[in-house]
């Protein structure tokens, strides 16, 4: 093949990351999270990460494992379990630094980074505690209106992790969930983006040309791809499978009892992905999880 061959293993992807990096994680709460790649980080020695995410169990687990130095977030939630318990523990222990943002400001910061801008102006944040707590500055419109706006700083990412439905070895991706969240902006805001996918094909145009509109982000922004069926578990991966609320419940309960991540990490991470999937009933069981109803 050529330099266009972006296939890597999950371990090789994590080997590209280094301590202290700013890492974006795609998806939204308990929805379409690159959990297999997160688990691979949890199996590694990586530390001192700045994590940028619309957070779910990805954030909770990385916080619980002490991998997070700083979190950039608007929420961390598992939807049906509104308060992410391991994230709460980390916050209430004063264990992590944070930059708390509004959900819309967050994507605005990713867009600023994508366009190479230092910031993008917005009204959002004015009149709240966000600017003061986050050290956000204001700018004044140079035009006649003279409006004062928050300058939302670019959220530049060293790397982004995303989980998609399909990719080919060149990074031509396809995403089929009814909502793509802000994954394309994570990819464009990042120096390197690594994608796990349910299905890796040879040449997309030979396999699924009729689905080309599902190519939500261009391959120039994709640095590495790996095939991990079930790789979003326990988060949802429409249309293939829903979230695993039983697994989320067990994970949440473990934050109370025993409340010690090192005692339960093996259950929720596993020594490798095959062991993890087997412990969760096998790939067929994961793929049979019903899609959530809102």
């Amino acid at each position: 093949m050529s330099g266009l061959d972006k296939r890597m293993s999950a371990a090789e992807i994590v080997a590209q990351l280094s301590d202290g990096m700013t890492l974006g994680i795609g998806g939204w709460g308990p929805r379409r999270k690159p959990m297999a790649l997160v688990r691979e980080i949890l199996r590694s020695d990586l530390k001192d990460l700045t994590v940028v995410a619309y957070g779910g169990a990805d954030v909770g687990m990385l916080c619980a494992a002490g991998k997070v130095k700083k979190l950039v977030f608007a929420f961390v939630s598992l939807d049906a379990i509104p308060l992410e318990p391991w994230f709460r523990k980390a916050r209430e222990a004063g264990q992590i630094d944070v930059l708390e943002l509004d959900e819309g400001m967050f994507q605005w910061g990713l867009k600023a980074a994508s366009f190479g801008l230092p910031f993008l102006p917005t009204r959002v944040g004015l009149g709240t505690d966000l600017a003061e707590l986050g050290g956000l500055k204001t700018v004044q419109s140079p035009y006649a209106d003279g409006e004062v706006l928050i300058a939302m700083p670019a959220l530049k990412l060293d790397a982004a992790l995303l989980h998609f439905n399909r990719s080919d070895w060149r990074g031509n991706v396809q995403v089929f969930g009814p909502d793509v969240y802000y994954d394309e902006w994570f990819a464009r805001a990042a120096a390197k983006t690594y994608v796990s996918c349910e299905e890796l094909v040879d040449r997309m145009e030979d396999h699924y040309p009729e689905d080309a509109q599902a190519n939500i982000v261009e391959r120039a922004f994709i640095s590495g791809v790996t095939e991990i069926p079930g790789g979003a578990h326990p988060s949802s991966m429409p249309p293939h499978y829903g979230w695993d609320m039983k697994a989320f419940k067990a994970y949440s309960d473990a934050a109370k009892d025993p409340g010690d991540w090192s005692a339960v990490a093996d259950r929720f991470v596993g020594s490798d992905e095959a062991t993890y999937v087997a412990a969760n009933g096998g790939l067929e069981a994961v793929k049979a999880l019903p899609l959530p109803i809102f």
Binding site: A74, F75, G94, D102, V124, L126, G127, T128, A131, F294
Partner: protein
Amino acid sequence: MSDVTLAELCVFACSEAFRGNGEVVATGVGPVPRLAASLAKLTHTPELMMTDGECYLVEQPVPLGPRGYDDRKKAGYLPFSRFFDAAVWTGRRHAMVTPTQIDRFGQINLSQLGGTHQQPKTQMLGVRGFPGNTIYHPNSFFFPSHTARVFVPGEVDMVSGVGYNPAKRVPGGNYSAVDLRRIVTNLCVMDFGGPDNAVRVISLHPGVTFAEVQEATGFALIDAVTGETALPGPEELAIIASLDPHGIRNSVIKDNPPARKAAA
């Protein structure tokens, strides 16, 4: 209608917040606000737009609770990936939400309680979309338990949503779209119609007194009560029941009391 529950009265009172709103996205977060938005669309304000709770716009409101995945009838599309562009930052939305705290300025908090920002005593969800919602489009609130822990004295622990606090407003900012509409609780209906947008009680639920509401509130309220909060009629009750076939509304308010308090 002696068998109307307080939760149903609240749905009906909340639905009034959406009356005449026109073609905006009505978002009700939680069972009562969601039923209220749906009831408004099915009765007095069919122009309202709403989603299925995931990402599709529906013209037929989606019932609460378990149902077939494809039961929703998709009429349009409004995913998170378009939400700020289309609904929030254009002001074409009215949200009704339940923050953890609210203060006399209408400032709301969903993020953290006590402690410091570095180490809160209780971490909650985070500010979510409240800062953007409150500076761009109308908002209303529903609280199933009206207490001074919710309606706090002073200010909320972390200001997650913009209110009418002049001290909080950076000079030169545009606050023209800040528009806090109604507050519905298990005791009464309030608005921000007092001097400098002070909170007023505009109706009391059957059997509730202004003094009781004041007692349960951490700041001074204005008595602008014009009467008793209206009860839903048979048509509204039937619609509410059809939108909530599993009776999720019955668990919203402690002990699911009737709308009219039993005589002591």
